[in-house]
Point group: C2
Chain length 149, copies 2
């Protein structure tokens, strides 16, 4: 006897399992855990791979644009780019068109790492997609996109 939408009983809304956000959090945890295993050898995180990938797709991209694309603030972007620069995967150059910006480029090492990462991503995605029917994958991505804009 589930009483939903009852304005009287506002306290006991629903069970934790009916909270959409709860499932998004759990799914993210599961995906992240599997990602970490898959990338143990490469020693790269999701964020790091994303930054490598985007930098490769948009050579000379600024940190602020990188952050906008991945929904991170400037400070967070800094720490990630710093790590990748320390490992000689990314090179910072002052932008020629806007002196405030840094133009980011992959090094050869960075390209090699990204290439290896993409192989692992393929594995990781295969694991994830094995839990969904092809038609569902499209639907899922579309719905998630609506959530994150």
């Amino acid at each position: 006897m589930k009483e939903r939408g009852s304005l009287v009983e506002m306290d006991k809304i629903e069970g934790l399992n009916d909270i959409v956000g709860f499932h998004i959090r759990l799914a993210h945890g599961a995906v992240n855990r599997h990602f970490t295993e898959t990338f143990a050898d490469l020693d790269l995180t999701q964020k790091q791979v994303s930054v490598l990938w985007l930098t490769d797709d948009h050579p000379g991209i600024s940190q602020i644009d990188l952050g906008r694309e991945l929904q991170m603030d400037r400070a967070t972007t800094m720490t990630i780019v710093n790590r990748l620069q320390q490992r000689d995967f990314i090179r910072r150059e002052r932008s020629l068109t806007d002196g405030r910006k840094q133009a980011l480029h992959l090094t050869d090492e960075g390209r090699t790492a990204l290439s290896a990462a993409k192989q692992c991503i393929a594995q990781h995605e295969a694991w994830l997609k094995s839990r969904l029917k092809p038609s569902e994958i499209e639907k899922l991505v579309e719905m998630l996109s609506r959530i994150h804009d």
Copy 2:
């Protein structure tokens, strides 16, 4: 001209936007950000609310079972329960049936906090659900459940 499924071109698999895990991560970020705003006054995180909620639903639950439900290891569960205990939301008792376990209970303060939290959750969920059609919500939760088991 997107070349998909090409076995020759294994390096350039697809765009970042075609990676399901990428969208899960972004969606989680967006949800978490909105959650944090909504809960700024209460000063509670998703995990903390989840622990309060589950402890309320299962009085006397052990930390290990809490962790299993929320997919956290023992150490992570500890830190969260510690924080909630420091704020007098949760009380630890030695289990009567198994001396290794702690039986967790909400305090009156904890119940008050959870009650307030559930009001905020309702707001937060409304924001999230406003981006989806009712029929989609069910489908989304079902798919996410398949991902996190």
